[in-house]
């Protein structure tokens, strides 16, 4: 099952433990992660379900290309990283 981790800077606002979340796309993996931790959802995704402008998600070392639909594929052995982009200051 893919493993999901969050920037430690989120901890100041909402608890986001590293964990495993099932899914074959970034959308499915994040949905699973936020089902277990709904308070974190609005910090990563906006009201339309898109990645916030200054949040970046990597699958292993590669930033996701589809920031709206989050359709990038995720394999069971992949690591999904939710980071903050430097563009946000």
């Amino acid at each position: 099952m893919p493993r999901v981790s969050f920037t430690p800077n989120l901890e100041r606002h909402v608890h986001c433990p590293t964990g495993e979340a099932a899914g074959q796309t970034v959308r499915a993996v994040l949905d699973a992660a936020f089902q277990a931790n709904p308070a974190a959802r609005g910090y990563v995704l906006d009201e339309h379900g898109e990645l916030r402008k200054h949040v970046v998600v990597f699958v292993n070392g590669t930033p996701v290309r589809d920031r709206r639909q989050l359709s990038d594929r995720v394999a069971p052995s992949d690591e999904v990283y939710v980071y903050q982009a430097l563009s946000g200051g």
Partner: protein
């Protein structure tokens, strides 16, 4: 006079208090240190505190405290609905704009004095929201959002249009007046069921002659209403100071008598004397510094026929402080004023601006000051 002052800054919310009768204001608490706090509402109906945050990475948040600021909880958020391609095509946003999303909480006001928890929230990119459960849930005011004229709003100061002023009539809370940059002044008399743009008399120096009088393109930087004479409004506009004495049915330009400039952002009106108002002038348009580096407050006591320049206690020379639209507040007595600047200066006056006391010269950039 109010002995408590909330100061929302780019790096946190400062809660200042003054011992009754004592000379000094002290920082009693700092909340959200490091976070951009765009708006604060100390709600006198039930003591709840609300703070709008603009987190650089993690989006806009609204927090509330029911223990006087000791702890804060996330509220629900105003959310923009999905938009069709047609709707996107109609919007006068900058090229590349996608669906409207909550970008900034620019105004928060108590909606109904008899119903604690009822709130209005003005946002960028132009949505007005209503909550009746202390911010737990919000509804977009569709009557305004769907108005064809609303779709013509454009950004003023910010990239997107926004509602920065919400004036709830003390005689009838169903009567609400909004200030919009850029979209003029909008009025409902039925709690948001219907709206009218009411900026007749304002004019815009930044538009072609054919469009300069259009009410819907006006940029009132801040609109305030006199509590004791609610038909009286003042607006600090992008290119002038305007006044209405008929409930914003009409506005007139008071001109620039005895003032360094008619440009500025902030305005405060005396709660009982509609002819008395304060402004903080700056050099237009994008320059936005005090004229010749002289930081002053101007006051009129005669409805804008004349102005006094007030500078006792303010920096003597070479000051480049600008006061943003929510950076000037007056307490309910009408004697005490607070003013916070872009360069972190905070001043209080206990005599209607005749003398100012510097509380701090070193706060972060100040976005909003409000007496508690």
């Amino acid at each position: 006079m109010s002995d408590r002052l909330f100061v929302a800054t780019e790096k946190g919310l400062f809660d200042l208090r003054r011992e009754p009768g004592g000379p000094d204001w002290k920082i009693a608490r700092v909340s959200f240190l490091g976070d951009d706090v765009s708006m604060v509402l100390p709600d006198r109906r039930d003591g709840t505190l609300y703070a709008g945050l603009a987190l650089g990475h993690f989006g806009v948040k609204l927090r509330r405290s029911t223990d006087d600021g000791a702890t804060w909880q996330d509220c629900g958020l105003p959310e923009y609905p999905p938009q069709t391609e047609t709707e996107l095509g109609e919007a006068v946003f900058k090229p590349g704009q996608t669906a409207a999303k909550l970008e900034y909480i620019w105004s928060l006001e108590a909606a109904d004095p008899a119903r604690p928890g009822s709130l209005w929230c003005g946002t960028l990119p132009g949505g007005l929201f209503r909550s009746d459960d202390a911010g737990t849930t919000w509804s977009l005011v569709r009557t305004l959002w769907d108005d064809p004229l609303r779709k013509k709003w454009f950004g003023g100061g910010m990239d997107r249009p926004g509602i920065h002023s919400i004036c709830v009539d003390p005689r009838d809370c169903r009567h609400v007046t909004l200030g919009v940059s850029c979209g003029g002044v909008w009025v409902t008399r039925d709690a948001g069921e219907t709206w009218q743009c009411k900026a007749q008399g304002m004019w815009a120096a930044y538009m072609p002659p054919e469009a300069k009088d259009d009410p819907n393109i006006q940029d009132p930087h801040r609109v305030v209403q006199c509590a004791g004479y609610p038909d009286a409004f003042w607006a600090q506009h992008h290119n002038g100071t305007f006044r209405s004495t008929d409930g914003s049915e009409s506005w007139h330009d008071v001109g620039t008598p005895e003032r360094p400039s008619s440009f500025g952002f902030a305005v405060a009106v005396h709660p009982h004397k509609a002819d008395t108002a304060w402004f903080v002038p700056a050099v237009k348009d994008e320059c936005r510094v005090p004229s010749e580096g002289r930081f002053v407050v101007t006051r009129t006591r005669d409805g804008g026929k004349s102005f006094e320049m007030l500078d006792k206690g303010l920096p003597a020379a070479a000051a480049y402080d600008v006061v943003f639209r929510h950076g000037l507040d007056i307490d309910e007595t009408g004697d005490r004023l607070a003013m916070g600047s872009t360069t972190g200066g905070l001043w209080v006056s206990d005599d209607q601006g005749d003398h100012w006391q510097c509380v701090s010269e070193h706060l972060p950039q100040i976005l909003c000051v409000r007496f508690g």
